[in-house]
């Protein structure tokens, strides 16, 4: 992923081999059919902002990073994820298109892609 353009980044997910349900990696069984046959897949790290906030009083392990922006994003691939946003208001609007600048599981960072 080193030289990739931001919109080319992907996020790891699990796809159920039995029913096709796609979910985040933090699951042992498929919530749709209870199968344990979950296959790792990568999905494009692009989607739309559902909502966002700016955290000014942070938990101790994030205190040195505050203030920072947290967003809930609906990925085009389906799953909803919680991550960081590189820029806050006033550039942001609910429903704005975003793509990932970083897609590490512990460092999921989005930025605005366009204003469509």
């Amino acid at each position: 992923m080193t030289a990739a353009a931001p919109s080319d980044l992907t996020l790891p997910m699990l796809r159920c081999a039995s029913c096709g349900y796609l979910d985040t990696p933090s699951h042992a069984v498929c919530r749709a059919c209870l199968s344990t046959n979950l296959q790792p897949v990568e999905v494009p790290a692009i989607g739309r902002i559902v909502s966002f906030t700016t955290i000014r009083r942070a938990p101790s392990r994030f205190r040195d990073q505050a203030p920072y922006h947290v967003a809930v994003v609906d990925l085009d691939a389906g799953p909803r994820v919680t991550g960081r946003l590189a820029a806050g208001p006033p550039a942001l609007a609910l429903g704005a298109r975003v793509c990932a600048l970083s897609a590490e599981p512990t460092d999921l960072l989005f930025t605005i892609r366009d204003n469509s």
């Binding site: 985040t24 933090s26 559902v50 909502s51 966002f52 906030t53 700016t54 955290i55 000014r56 009083r57 942070a58 938990p59 101790s60 994030f62 205190r63 990073q65 920072y68 947290v70 809930v72 799953p79 909803r80 994820v81 919680t82 991550g83 960081r84 806050g88 208001p89 609910l94 599981p105 512990t106 999921l108």
Partner: protein, 386 residues
């Protein structure tokens, strides 16, 4: 199922109880409830205690057994239950179930928490145990942050304004001033609220409940009621517990909690009443915008109009439906495990007609207790006995 009544109530003030061990707060509240009821301790058949974070903050577990022991109760089951901020409501519901199902004829529900002795970062870390620490917490999201997300959607979709949300804060803080149990009542202006510290956009400090110590307790008994009863009984029409999404991504709509919606619907059906029959409500206003959302989720206010109703005074004590005349979590305080039982305490006072912010002629009251990011919810409906 047997008919069950609340026959005794007790509570410590919510606030700072520096140096008082958590079990002593719980015992004080429960002893007050037992004295209030007049019911002999020998009749108590079960005790349920709601607590969230006494393990991490006090290094104390088995609180239910400790409290039962210190109260001199018989050799009965004493059980701690946990559902984050809904722990107290869950304790109450379990006590109701034990009696309704015929397991025992009388029971005690108690909720307790101590938080103010711990450092802020320690409290935040403990509270964050109630979040999905795999999917949600790595982003740095906080509980106020969750309600910041919800507020933005509510504002965009329904046009909810800062002034409308501030009306919730001003109302609850003002009621807190007159509630002797409340931690942080205040006479605030919109400017005071706007000038308070920014916590997470759009929430300011006064939009957030404080951290608190405290305990509350109630005694429940089956009908026919014990002959030694001293208090005015209150009927439990319904008590419902539901699960909601355990992670942010699971919520179909970030400015509604499905656990609240389904708990309320089931409670109304169980009680055979409509939302318009409810006179007074204690609901889970952990943040100002939460009261707006909860009032809509409970079916008390039309969807999207929670802010407008607050600003128009329709949720005041003399309004259409009185919401949080105790001051709510915002002003009364939020000793997490105690809150749900404290709400029952407040509604019983209303139905007895002895509340400091009395809703005139209140006959039916409701409590709503919500835990985690909406993962656990209890709704109870209570009625003044005929």
């Amino acid at each position: 199922m047997r008919d069950v009544c609340i026959v005794g109530i007790g509570s410590t003030p919510f606030g700072r109880h520096a140096g008082t061990p958590i079990e002593q707060l719980a015992v004080r509240a429960a002893a007050e409830a037992l004295r209030d009821s007049g019911v002999d301790r020998g009749r108590i058949g079960a005790l349920y205690l709601g607590n969230f974070i006494s393990g991490p903050l006090n290094g104390k577990e088995i609180l239910a057994g400790i409290v039962g022991d210190q109260l001199g109760l018989p050799n009965i089951p004493c059980t701690k239950v946990e559902g984050a901020c809904a722990s107290g409501g869950i304790a109450f519901r379990h006590a109701w179930m034990a009696i309704a199902s015929g397991q025992c004829d009388a029971a005690v529900a108690v909720g307790a928490e101590t938080m103010t002795h711990a450092a802020g970062a320690q409290v935040t870390a403990a509270l964050n145990c109630a979040m999905d620490n795999e999917d949600d917490a790595p982003s740095g999201l906080t509980f106020p942050g969750l309600f910041g997300l919800a507020w933005r959607i509510h504002a965009q979709r329904y046009g909810t304004t800062r002034a409308q949300v501030s009306a919730v804060v001003r109302k609850n803080k003002a009621y807190g001033l007159r509630n002797p149990l409340a931690q942080m009542g205040a006479d605030l202006t919109d400017a005071d609220i706007a000038a308070s510290a920014a916590i997470c956009d759009p929430l300011q400090l006064f939009d957030c409940c404080p951290t608190s110590d405290g305990a509350a307790a109630v005694v429940l008994a089956a009908r026919p009621l014990p002959s030694d009863l001293q208090s005015v009984p209150v009927d439990i029409l319904a008590s419902v517990q539901t699960r909601g999404a355990a992670r942010i991504a699971g919520h179909p709509d970030l400015c509604s909690f499905d656990a609240t919606v389904s708990a309320a619907q089931r409670a109304y059906a169980m009680a055979g009443i409509a939302p318009t029959d409810v006179d007074v409500v204690e609901l889970h206003d952990c943040f100002s915008i939460a009261e707006v959302i909860d009032s809509e989720d409970l079916g008390l206010v039309p969807r999207g109009q929670g802010g407008a109703w607050a600003l128009e005074g329709r949720t005041a004590v003399d309004g259409q439906v009185a919401i949080n005349p105790s001051g709510g979590l915002l002003a009364k305080g939020h000793p997490v495990g105690a809150t749900g039982v404290g709400q029952i305490y407040e509604i019983v006072r209303q139905l007895r007609g002895t509340h400091a912010n009395q809703v005139r002629g209140a006959k039916i009251g409701m409590t709503h207790n919500l835990g985690g990011t909406g993962v656990a919810c209890t709704v109870s409906l209570l009625r003044r006995a005929a």
